[in-house]
Symmetry: D4
C-alpha cells in the first residue's frame, strides 16, 4: 500500500466514509491474491516497476498455470516464467498463450510486442554459458531493453573480445557471464564506463566447485564498477540490467 | 588508447608524419606513467569516467605520496585514497593537500568542491557497519553524487526502516550495507524500484565467518534488482552507485 | 530407567525380593526391545514426553513395518514416521493403519484424534518450502498442537507478512521456514515475543550451497529469541515447537 | 506502533483531532529516538517483552554511555550490555550505575533486584566454556529467570553429567554449552523433556575451526527438542531460555 | 624387498653367484606382478602382515577377476574385496570362489575358516550405519579377529549404550561408527581404556555435509584414546582394529 | 594479430594500399570465424603453438561436428576433442575421421602420424586414475611427445615406484596423477630434476571431497619443482607437459 | 562407579547397611571432586588407565595450580599438563614440583621415574613440526612408553626416511607427524605392520589452511593401518600410542 | 644414493673390499648430515640439480646459522634462505656472508656471481604483490636465470599488459603473480606459447579468503599451458621457472 493510498484511506476515515476499524484492516492487508499455496502480488508493478516473475523451479505445472492464469486474468502482459522445464512448458502452453525458449528455459506468457530501448550487452566466456546468457538476454528483452549478444569472447583469446570493444562501449549496462575463472568481468570492467553485472556460472569441473571459482573471482574483481549476482542467475542479471538501462537521466 | 587516437595515428602514418614502426610502438604503449613499483594511468578518466583510485592498504606512505603526487602534478582533482590508515594519512597530508576521514579511512587529495547531483541512499543494519557505510558514502560524494545516510535500520526493528520508505523510494540507487544475516538488502529490494547494491560486512562473530553469512544471504536474495560487491567493499559500492546515479536518460 | 524405578528395585533388594545381581543387571539394562537391527525404546514417553519417532530415510519398508508394528503392539498411538517415500508408505500402509501425506512425506501410524491445544504458527518464505513446512506442521499437530499456516510470506514482499502480524503475535511459538537468504526468521523475530524456531531449507540454487546460505543467515540473526535447527529439518522444528507450545505455566 | 495505537490514531482522525497527513506521518514513524549513530527503540518492551540490549562489541565507550544514558533517562532498568570489554566497562561505570562481570564481559546498567522465577539450567562441557556460560546465565537472570549452573560435565566423563540428572530434569529449559565435539547437547537432549538450547563455543583447536565442529555437531543432533544458536552466543541462548522459561501455561 | 633378502643378494654377489649389475637390478625391482592396469604385490603379507586388499569401487568385474585370480593362483586365502557392487559380485563369483555380503558390499575370495582371536567391538549410533559397521566387522573377522556387534546404541538414548558397558569394557579395541553428530566416539572413549577407532558416516542430511559433521566431531573428541579414519571407511577401521587386537604383549 | 601483421598493415596504410579506417577495423578484428554459438580461432597455432582444442563437455554432437568440420576444412590436423562421451563420439565419427579412446573420452579428428620426440612420463597412484592418466598421455602424444606410462605406483607400496626410478629420471617432464592423499607428486618431486606437473583426481570417497584432498596435498608439496593443474584435468597436464618437453635448448 | 562398586552397594542395601535412598544417591554420584570451576575425576585411572590430564590452554595459572594441587594431594604422580605457556609454567612451578619443556609446552607435575616399556616411534616431516612431535613423545614417555624420535624425514627426500626403516619396523606403534601435504603417514603406513597414528600439523602456509591439507591427506591415506587425530594434537597421538604400545598380548 | 654409487658399492662387495653387512648399512643410509633438529642433504645437487633451500619460517636464527654454516663448510654457494625475517637476517648476516632483500625476505648466503641464461618473465597484477614477485625473481636469478620484471600490469587496465606483449612472448617461462581475482594468468596464458606458472597471492580482502579466490581462478584457467603453485609461493614458482628455463633442447 503506497503513501497515496494511505492518505486516501485516512481521508475516507475523516470523512466518515470508512470506519477506523475497516481502515486498520485495510492498511494491514496487502493487495495480493491468496490462492492457497501462493500469494499473487498484483500491485508489484506499482512498487517495483515490473510484473511479478514466476520462478518455475519449485512449482508444478498446475501451480504455474494457476498463478499465471490469475495474472493473465488480472491483465498482466509479458509474464516471465524462469527455470521452466520443457515438459512443464508444454503443459503450461496448452493452458495459456506461451512463448518458450528451451535453451534458457524461459517462458513468456501473454507476450505482446513492445518497443525496445537503450542498449544492454550480454557477453559470455564460452559456448557452455549459453543458457545463462539467454536467460539474462530474454529477461532484459521481455522487460523492454534492446540487447546485443557477444558470446564466446573469453579472456584466453583476448582478440575476440577486443574485436567488440565498440559494442561494449556503446552499452548502457553490460552483463558479463563466465564460468571457470570468471576473469571476463574484470577485463570488461576495465574497458567500459557503464555498470557491469557479473554472472558466475557453474560451467567447469573440479576446483570450480559449481561456480564458486567464478563467483569469488568476480567478487574480487580489481576493476571498479562491477557487481555480482548469484551463480547461474541469468534472470537476476537481466532484470537488474534492464532496470539500469531504463533509468531516466539524472537532473541534478 | 581509444579508437579516435588510433585513427589519428593511422592518418599520421598515411600522411607520412609517422613511420609504421613508431605507430606500432605507440599503439602497443598505453598512456600510463611508469614509476617503477606502479604504472599510473592518467587516461583512465577518458576510458572509465573517473580518476584512478589509490588503494592504500598494500602501499607505504611514500608510495602513496609518489603516486598521488604525480596525479596532482598531472592536474587530477578529488583523488580518492581508500583504506588509508591514520598514520599514513598524517604522512600523506604533510606532502599533499588531503581531506581525511578516520572512520572510513578515506582520504581525498586535492579536493575541490563540485555540485552534487541525483540521489544515492546508503542504508545500514547497525552502528558497527559505519566505517563501510562511510567509505561508500564518501566515495559517491567525492565522485559527485548527493548522498542520504540511513543508518541503524536493521530488519529486526522493521519500523525503523519503514519510517524511511519515502527516502528509499526517492533514491536513484540504494547501497544496502549489513553484516550478520544481511537481510537488509532483500527487504529494501522489495520496497524500491531502483538498483540496490548490497555490501556484506564482516561485522558479527561466530558463524558469520568474517562476512560470509551476509555475503551468501545477499547473493541469494529473493528480491530482484539486487547485486553484490565484496565483503566490506564500501568503495566498490559507492563507485558503482555513483555510476548508476549519474546515468543519462535512456533515449530509446 | 527412571529414579522411581531405581528406588523400587532397591527396595526389592532390601526386602529380599530381588538379588543384588539381578538388580545390577536390571539397572544396567534399559527398557528397550532389541529386534536385531534396531532397539525400540518403549519407555521414551516417560523420559521425553513423546513416542519414539521413526526416521524413515535409512530404513527399508520391512524394517519400518517391524519397528512400527512392535510399537503398535505395545499400544503406541500417533506414531510419526518421517521421510517416508511414497512407495514405502504404500507397503507400510498395507501392513498397518497409516495416514500419509505425500508432500511432506510424513506418515502417522495408528492415528487417533486428540484435542489440539495452544498455537504454533508455521510461516514460510516461498511455495517451494512447502514440504518442510508441512513436515513441521504435521509433526506439531500429531503431537497435539494447534497449527496456523502462513505460507509464501517472504521478506521481498513485506506487506504479505505484515498482513499477518496479528496471527504471528497470537502464537506461542513460531516456526520460520525459509531457503535462499533466510531473512524471514530475523524479520519475524523482530515482530513477536514468543520463541522463534528457524528452519533453513535447501531451496534455491548456486551460492545457496544446499541451504547453507539460509542456515548462516539464521544463525546470525540480529533478532533475539531465534534458534535454529538443521537444514530441511521440519520434523525437529515441529517437535520442539510442540514442546514449547505445550509448556505449563511458570509458577515462580 | 502496535495495533491499538493505530486504532487510536485513526479514531483521532475520524474525530478531527488529527489531520490525515499528521496521522500518515505518525504511522510511518516508529517510537525510536535517533541519536545520530543509533536509533534507540524505547518501545521494544511493548513489542518484544524485554528492553533493547546493547551489543557492546562494535561501539565506543562514549557511544555506549550515550545509548544507555538515554535508556536510563527513559526509565529502563536492568539494561544488559554484552561483549563489554573491561576498559570500556570502567568508563561506562563512571558515567552510569553499572554491575559488571569480567568473565562474561556482561554489564547491567541501572540494575534493580527482581524476583527470579522458574528454572533454567546452564550446563557446560568444560572449564574453558565459562565465559559463554556466564553470558547465558547472567542474561537469563537479568531478565528474571532462576538459573542453575552445571559446569564441567562433558560427555567424556558421563558420570559427572549423570550425577546431575535430577537437576536437568527439573529444568524448564536447558542451555547446553560445549566446544570441541559438542556432544553435550545430544546427550542432554536424550535425558530431558524440556527445550534444549545448544550453544557451540569456539573452544578447542585445529579442526574445530573456531567452533564449527561443535556447531555442526549440534545442528545434527540425533536428539529431538534441541535447537542451536550462533557460536559463542551465550546472550542469545540466555535470552531465549528466559523467554521459554517464563512462558505462561497453555490453556488449550 | 626386506632386509634379509637384501643380505642374501649381497652375499650372492660376494660369492660371485650374482653380478653386481644383476643385484642392482634386483634390488631396484619389487616383488610385484605387473598385469598392465595393476601391479599385484605378492609380498605384502611379509611387509604388512595382511594380504593386499582389492578396493572394488574403481574397477571392472574383469579387472577384479584378473587381480584376485592371480592372488588365488599365488596361494592367497581370504582375499578381501571391498566396495563390490552386487552385479560385479555376481560376475566375480562365477569366476572364483566368493563369499559376498550385500549389505556391506564386502566379498571374500578363497575364503577359509580360521580361528578368531581377541575381541573387537563394533558399535554404531543408528540403523542406517549398518553397511559401514558390517564392512568393519567383516574385515576384522576375515583378518582373524573375534567381533561383537553393538548396533543402534546412539547417545540420545544413553541407556541403550550403558546396557552394554560390560561388552565395551571387555574389548581390546572398539570401532565406534556414527553419522549425524558423531558423539558416540566421545562417550565410548570415556567408558573404556582400549583404543577407540572412530568412523564417521555420511548418514544424515542438511548440515551433515556428507559426513563432515561427524568427522569434525570425532577429530575434536574430548575423550583421549580416540583416533579417526575417513568418512564411511569401515574397511580401514576394521583393518586397524584387527591389527591392534592381534598385538603381542609388550615385554618391556 | 601478431606484430608482423600489424607492421604489414601499417605499411599498407603508408603506401596508400589500405585506408586508415580499414586498418583500424582490421586491427580490431581477430582472425576467428564466427559460427554463431562459437568463434573458431584459426590463428591460434601461430600464437600458442597448438591447434585450438575442443572441450566436448558442454557441447552437442552437432556443435562439435560444426566446429571440428570448419577446422578440418581449414586444414587442421590432429584436432583434439576432450571429454567426448561415447554417444557423441559415435555421431562425430560418422561425420568426420575420428580416432576415439573410450577410457579417457579423448577423440582426435583428422589424425595423422607424426614423429614423437622427447620423453614425458605419466605416473599414477592407482588403477582408478586411469581415465585421467590416459587423457594426459593421449594429449601429449597427439601434440607430438613420446610418453611412458607408469601406472599403479602409489606411495603406499614404495617399491613399485622405486622400481621405476630410472624411467622417472629419464623424463623431461613428469605428469603425476593421484587421488586420495595425492602424495605421489611429492615423492616423485624428490626423485627427479625435471618439472613435475601434479594432477589431483577425484578418485576416493568421504573426506576426499571430490579431489580436494589431493589438490591441497599437491599445492602444499614439500618438494620443489612441482606445480598443479585442476582436479581431473588430464588434458591440461598433457598439454603443458608437451610444451615443456618440446622446449628448445636454452642458449644463454 | 564400576560394576563391582555397584554390587557392593546393592549388597549393603540387601544387608540393611545402607538405605535404598542413600544407595540411589550414591549410584548417581560420581567419584569426582567439585572445586567450582572444575570437577576433578580421581577415579579416572580405574576407568581409563591413566590420570586425568590437565589441558592448560583455557585455564589460568591459579586454576591449574588448584586442580593439580588436589591431584597431588590425592596422590597422583606424573600429572600431565599440556599447552602450558611459559609464564603459567613459571607460576605453577612455584606452587608445585613441575618439570617443564618449553618447546612442546608440556609440564609434568609430581614427576617420578618409571621404567619405560615397548617402543613408540615419533617421526616427523620437518623441523617446524618439532613442538607437536615433542608433545607426543613426552606424553608417551610420561605414561610409560619408550620413545624413538625420527625427525626431519619428509617424503621429498625419501632416502632420509628409508635410512630408518629398521627403526620404523621395530616399533609397536608409530606416530607420524607432518604438515604441508602430510604424505609421511602414507609412506610410513606402507613400510610397517604396526598401527600408525597420523598427526597433521598446522605448519605451512597458503592453501594448507592451518593444517587442513595435511589432515585431509592423512584421512585419505591409501595405506591401511593409519588413523588420524586432530591438527597439532600431539598429546592425543602420544596418549593413544602409549595405550597401543602397552597392550597385553592377545590370548585368543 | 644414486645408481652409480650403488654399483660401486656392489663391486666393492664382490671384490671383498666391503662386507655385505657394511654395504647393506651403507645402502640404507643417505648422504645427509644429521645435526639433531635437521638432516642436511649435501647430495641434493646430484639428485635435484639445485642446492637444498632453507625455509626460514619455522626456524630460529641459530638453527639457520647451523644449517647454512654446514652447507658453506661443505662448499655450497648461493644458498637460498626464504621467508627470512629481518631480525633473523641480521643475526645470520653476522655469522655468514649474506645478501638479504627485505621486500621478499630472501637471503642468499655465500653468494657468487654466475652468468644468467635464458629468459624468465615475472609479471604481477598489482603493487601489493611485490614481495611474492621478488621472491620468485630472486630465486630464479640465484639459480641462474635471467629475469624480466613486469609489475602492475593487472587485467583491469589491459593496455598496461598489452604494452609488454613483446617481453612476454620473448620469455621461455612466465611467472604470473596475482591476488584478488587472479585473472592475469589466464590473460597471459592466451598471449604466449611458453609454460606459465601462476602464483596466487593473499593480497585482497573479504571474499578473497587469503588467496583462495586467486587460487581457484588460476586452477580453473580457461587458457592452456598454465599450472599453479601454492598461495604466496614465490619461491616455488621461481624454482620451477628456472628449471624450465634452463632445459636443454629436445633432441627427439
Amino acid at each position: 500500500m503506497d503513501r497515496e493510498a494511505l492518505l486516501r484511506a485516512l481521508n475516507a476515515v475523516r470523512d466518515g466514509a470508512m470506519t477506523p476499524e475497516a481502515a486498520a484492516r485495510l492498511m494491514g492487508r496487502a493487495p495480493f491474491e491468496d490462492i492457497g499455496f501462493a500469494k499473487i502480488d498484483h500491485h508489484r508493478p506499482l512498487r517495483n516497476g515490473a510484473s511479478e516473475v514466476i520462478y518455475g523451479a519449485g512449482k508444478t505445472a498446475a501451480q504455474i498455470v494457476a498463478i499465471a492464469g490469475r495474472m493473465v486474468a488480472a491483465g498482466s502482459e509479458n509474464i516471465l516464467i524462469t527455470r521452466l522445464e520443457a515438459d512443464k512448458a508444454k503443459a503450461v502452453g496448452e493452458a495459456l498463450p506461451l512463448d518458450y525458449d528451451p535453451v534458457s528455459r524461459v517462458g513468456v506468457a501473454n507476450r505482446v510486442e513492445r518497443p525496445l530501448v537503450g542498449r544492454v550487452v550480454v557477453a559470455s566466456g564460452g559456448t557452455s554459458d549459453l543458457p545463462v546468457c539467454e536467460e539474462a538476454a530474454l529477461t532484459a528483452e521481455t522487460l523492454g531493453s534492446r540487447v546485443t549478444r557477444l558470446y564466446d569472447v573469453g579472456v584466453a583469446g583476448l582478440h575476440r573480445l577486443l574485436a567488440h570493444v565498440e559494442d561494449l562501449q556503446a552499452a548502457r549496462c553490460v552483463v558479463a557471464v563466465a564460468g571457470m575463472e570468471g576473469a571476463l568481468a574484470s577485463v570488461i570492467g576495465g574497458l567500459v564506463d557503464c555498470p557491469v553485472i557479473a554472472v558466475p556460472t557453474s560451467v567447469g569441473y573440479g576446483a570450480n566447485f559449481g561456480g564458486v571459482s567464478a563467483l569469488l573471482s568476480m567478487l574480487n574483481s580489481c576493476a571498479s564498477g562491477v557487481s555480482v549476482v548469484n551463480i547461474d542467475n541469468g534472470f537476476g542479471a537481466g532484470y537488474l540490467a534492464n532496470r539500469i538501462n531504463q533509468m531516466k537521466g539524472c537532473d541534478a
